[in-house]
């Protein structure tokens, strides 16, 4: 059984103006579908990566996984427990302890008035368990020194802060860690240190990661399986080798072509056309059709369903 099973997950945000403006300006309510009918599974001890551009819904999915947002419809089951619907408090509590999250900005996700020791043990202390010596042990595991426990967050650099965030995430001995752009705010050399640390910890503790990123090379390096999102929909899912060697969805192909490559000096490729459409008024049919080079009538009419194609799952009428 997979550790995480996401089924037909949808999240709709109400982005309407206040009612008085709606009455005066005669506007209707406006809804933004951030995540649209997404289904995938994460095996235990694997790394599942979600990639997509801004507005593709990748962070919203991450938040629904850890329970920071409620799904509008569909479900997230972790070890068979649906956090949004489960009524047995003991079961919910057990699953909650298994999930942790690492955020993008290590400057905003640590309380500046707390000492590092208190920050790290908080997930355990809040459950009333004994935490003596725990912070020191975790600090050493993430490559910081024992003395750092008494310091405040402002005394650390960005990379060190992200290590503190990782130590905090590890404190409650979770099974699943949701990492939302964990290295996007870091320099390349620091990013390498943090990515290596995350790989080591995964082997050591048998962790499962949901890795959310916009950086394709990082995803290729870290992931066992990659899901590509476009406008809230899962358009392709495959193992990284399969995805990068043989992208099947035209959007994935465009993303791979657009990503800068270190080897291609002065590469001259035609840049991608168009931009991500307005998510409040998404195109009919396939969300990618206005930009797609393969577009046909059927693409404008029907939304493609995710189907198996060689080693991948792809939502495209034309892919073959």
């Amino acid at each position: 059984m997979p550790l995480v099973s996401v089924k037909n997950l949808t999240r709709i945000f109400d982005v309407s103006k206040p009612w008085l403006n709606r009455v005066i300006e005669r506007r209707k309510k406006a809804f933004l579908t951030a995540v649209n009918d997404v289904s995938f599974e994460i095996e235990e001890r694997s790394v599942y990566a979600l990639v997509g551009e801004s507005g593709s819904g990748k962070s919203t999915i991450g938040k629904m996984l850890v329970g920071l947002l409620q799904p509008s419809s569909g479900s997230v089951e972790i070890r068979g427990v649906d956090l949004a619907r489960e009524t047995d408090a003991a079961k919910i509590d057990g699953v909650r302890a298994d999930i942790q999250m690492i955020f993008q900005d290590p400057f905003a996700s640590l309380n500046p008035r707390w000492r590092v020791r208190d920050i790290i043990v908080e997930p355990v202390a809040s459950r009333g368990k004994d935490t003596t010596g725990m912070a020191e042990k975790l600090l050493e595991q993430v490559g910081l020194s024992v003395r750092d426990a008494g310091k405040f967050p402002h005394e650390f650099s960005g990379g060190q802060r992200q290590r503190i965030c990782i130590a905090r995430a590890l404190a409650s001995e979770p099974k699943l860690i949701v990492c939302d752009e964990p290295t996007s705010a870091l320099d390349v050399s620091v990013q390498a240190q943090v990515l290596n640390l995350m790989s080591d910890l995964r082997d050591e503790f048998g962790l499962t990661y949901l890795f959310i990123s916009h950086d394709l090379t990082v995803v290729q390096h870290m992931a066992d399986k990659v899901g590509v999102l476009y406008l809230g929909m899962l358009v392709e899912e495959a193992a990284p080798d399969e995805l990068f060697d043989d992208p099947k969805h035209p959007y994935t192909q465009m993303l791979l072509d657009a990503a800068p490559k270190l080897g291609d000096y002065g590469r001259d490729v035609p840049p991608p056309v168009g931009e991500i459409p307005d998510p409040i008024n998404p195109p009919t049919g396939c969300p990618y059709h206005p930009r797609c080079p393969l577009v046909q009538d059927v693409c404008r009419r029907d939304r493609p369903v995710l189907r198996k194609l060689r080693g991948a799952r792809v939502a495209c009428h034309m892919a073959e």
């Binding site: 551009e53 050399s189 620091v190 390498a192 490559k261 000096y265 002065g266």
Partner: protein, 325 residues
């Protein structure tokens, strides 16, 4: 004109503080020729933005140019003040910042912002300036420029806004553009569009571009030459192919190794141990020696210099023969 558009010699920027003088830029020299894109790459705090801001006199006090020379088109500009500098800024040097939302005035139509810049620098009538503004928007690939000129910045998407900022930098036809992280706030597909645009403009107009970024991939694709900065100094300077393909400075080598690459697959990333030293706590000798795998005793006492022109500021540049390594 045959000489370089921009020529920087021994540029030093100092910030006096209570605890002594900091040098975020320390004696750097490079040239940018006509139609050339020079990439300035380095990690945060390496001084790459400071160097760009010094050229266009946008250092915020108490930071100031403490030494060296800056020449643009054969004119020395580092000592220009007030009006003389203002005339140059925008006319000779255009600037593109990282965040397109904060570099446009949200209360003015983009057409007004463009014509304001054009009228400030060129002897044109208001109508001619407007035509020129439309032409500039057209050139950076904004569809329906004649109508969009009456739009406000918030009506554009992030990528389109960055195009407007580039149009703004270009509208007085400067010979040099300083682009400070122009694509960092943008998605990859939009980033590819903006890079293609910068390259096309550079090629068609012969504009020199100083492209400041931390992204090695962007440098590899866009730049002709690259300068690698570390702790305020140039670590390595040369053609992109040479510097990124066969780095001579151990820092450049380390940076390349820590970048995840498709060809390396899941192999462990190379790590540079430690972190860049703080400016008030620079080590003696080569600033990189505490992190350098090849450091010898001379690196701890003496500062290596960059030979004139291209090369690496290192006593033991790569590739190493067996006895040095």
């Amino acid at each position: 004109m045959t000489g370089p558009i921009l020529s920087i010699r021994n540029l030093t920027v100092e910030i006096p503080t209570r605890h002594g003088i900091l040098r975020p830029v320390d004696g750097i020299s490079y040239d940018i020729g006509r139609g050339e894109i020079l990439g300035i790459v380095g990690e945060s705090g390496a001084g790459k933005s400071m160097a760009g801001n010094a050229v266009i006199d946008l250092l915020s006090p108490p930071a100031h140019i403490a030494g060296g020379e800056i020449w643009v088109n054969g004119t020395r500009i580092d000592q220009l003040k007030g009006d003389a500098m203002r005339r140059l800024r925008g006319k000779e040097i255009g600037m593109v910042f990282q965040d397109p939302l904060t570099s446009l005035n949200p209360l003015l139509r983009i057409g007004d912002q463009l014509t304001e810049t054009i009228l400030a620098h060129l002897p044109l009538s208001r109508a001619q300036a407007k035509d020129r503004a439309i032409k500039a928007l057209d050139e950076v690939g904004i569809p329906g420029a004649t109508e969009r000129i009456n739009s406000y910045p918030h009506e554009f998407s992030g990528g389109m806004r960055q195009r407007v900022v580039i149009a703004l930098a270009l509208c007085a036809e400067p010979s040099l553009i300083i682009a400070d992280e122009p694509t960092t706030a943008l998605d990859v597909s939009v980033q590819a569009q903006i890079i293609a645009l910068l390259k096309a403009l550079c090629r068609n107009r012969g504009t020199a571009v100083m492209l400041i970024t931390h992204d090695m991939g962007v440098i590899a694709e866009a730049a002709d030459r690259v300068a690698v900065m570390y702790a305020g100094k140039l670590a390595e300077l040369g053609a992109v192919r040479d510097v990124l393909g066969a780095p001579r400075h151990p820092y450049t080598d380390g940076l390349m190794g820590s970048t995840p690459l498709a060809s390396r697959g899941k192999a462990r990333l190379h790590q540079i141990p430690g972190a860049m030293p703080a400016l008030d706590n620079l080590p003696q000798g080569c600033a990189f020696h505490p992190r350098c795998p090849y450091a010898q005793s001379i690196c701890k006492t003496q500062m290596p210099t960059l030979a004139d022109g291209d090369g690496a500021a290192c006593f033991f540049p790569l590739p190493h023969t067996a006895e040095v390594a």
